[in-house]
Amino acid sequence: MKRELVKYLLLVAAAVSMPYFFSDGYMMNVLVFVGINTMLAVALNLLLGFAGQISLGHAGFFGLGAYISGVLTATHQVNPWLAMLIAAIAVSFLAFLIGFPILKLKGHYLAMATLGLGIIIYIVFNEAVDITGGPSGLSGIPNLALGSLVFDNDVKNYCLVWTFTIVTILLAVNLAHSRIGRALRAIHDSEVAARVMGVNVRLLKVQIFALSAFISAVAGSLYAHVMTFAAPASFGFHFSVELVTMVIIGGLGSIYGSLFGATLLTLLPELLRTFQDYDIIIYGLILILVTMFMPGGLVQGIPSLLGALLPKKKEGRG
């Protein structure tokens, strides 16, 4: 537990020091998205990495969070914080309801069902033009504010988003080391064995699905208020796959791995500007190669790969 605390404090220190390193708005802006994607990747990892249940529809929950917040604040002038809470509760409630039938499915079937769910949500964003503004998007979403402090520039948004990100990581790490975390891993290994050990498999899977949707919706809400705009294209199948890629790269079941995966996949397109549309090919390759050769993700995979290549010096000690 002490190691966890040290890791966590290092993360907090790094996050706090970022604004002193990067004074320009561009990098801060990129880091805002790193924060949002980290929240999403951690949320998905709780489901995919710990409980072993795949979701190819998480972009849908993210989008619902963004749109509920957006519509409530831009169209109905609800207080943004209240809207965020409503969005998160509504989305996790939806996930809870749909979780019972959907999480009865396994493997490929679960993948297809969540994918279908994500696509239905995406179609609604596009077609419910009166509410969502259709394919051209919803604009005029206000920034979040605390009293007179309005989160309207990159540095302020950075502080806002990373506060949420850091809380999310703390929550996820604690969950992973709790009784629930162990029960989830038991489900991952064998549902039958977990049930025999007294884990309420069905309920726990649904609860973690709802929690994952809750975090995704908060991330969506933050996204909407930071961008002051939401369009369906950000919440499609493509983004769901990107999220899965982040989790896989970081390693299933590794919270800090998800942070790494989200950071890498958010920075990669920024660094490879020339690739533009073709970054999707790189995602495809990364997905295949990492799954084939480093099932534990890059964080575990690269050191063990290096370990296999380099001569072993430390052997024979003691």
Binding site: L48, G52, I54, L56, P101, I102, K104, L105, K106, G107, H108, Y109, A111, M112, A113, L115, G116, L117, I119, I120, I123, V124, N126, E127, V192, F237, V241, V244, I248, D277, Y278, I280, I281, Y283, G284, L285, I286, L287, I288, T291, M292, F293, P295
Partner: protein
Amino acid sequence: MNLSDQLIQFLLSGFATGSIYALIGLGFSIIYNATGIINFAQGEFVMLGGMVTVFFLTSLHIPLPAAILGAVAITTFVGLLFERLAIRPIRKATPINLVIITIGGSILIRGLAMLIWGKDTHAIPGFSGEEPIMIGNASLLPQHLWIFGMTTLAIIASKVFFNYTISGKAMRACAFNPRAASLIGIDVKRMVLFSFVISSAMGSVAGFIIAPLTMTSYDVGIMLGLKGFCAAIIGGMSSGLGTVLGGIILGVLESLGAGLISSGYKDAVAFIILLLILFIRPQGIFKRAESERV
């Protein structure tokens, strides 16, 4: 047009798109039965069937029949490569890993198609012109007849293959019990390869016969693939009549939904059906439930 004419029209076009879904769905179930894998890249084989035909027709000016044969050959080769490079070498073949690898494969194929042919939408001319055939007040395109004909042919061919050839019987044996199949001397790995070859060929057929009706581009594979999967799920993943009926049911419902309710939500119909079937009867609507082995 009065309502009954309209209904006939919806039924006809639903039947045609349904046939396509059936062909794609058969591709899904053939691989699933041989390997237990749901191949998320199935839709990309359909896309390749259309796009390679377009490429041969417009860039190389090859006549249509040769272009089609070329497209089937290339797509089949891609299917073969995919199995050899991505499916066979995988070490830890949990279902989630297989899902992710086939998704990775589909993204890669789609991305490469975009790299090679760009993002434009292309059309193939109808195989026998565009003059509609009138049935009462409903019209039917010659291409629809091609679709019915080719689908029937493909279904009969696969039926003959699976029931009357030694390779087909061997594949069914693998689907039934891979270990027992290998004990009696069937090369299971080869059968897995075969299943990818047959599915990609079948997918490419679906791709080039639908292209004259709906146009084609690098990204048509996602939707068509998912609809095909939906057909296979309705049919209980059978590599025979169940999936064919599943495709036709889906096509007709979708066409009715688009015509009578809203065309914008047309694609949602398929997924709502998919979810309902998965929730209520995951074994398909024609099959009895099987208990899961632990």
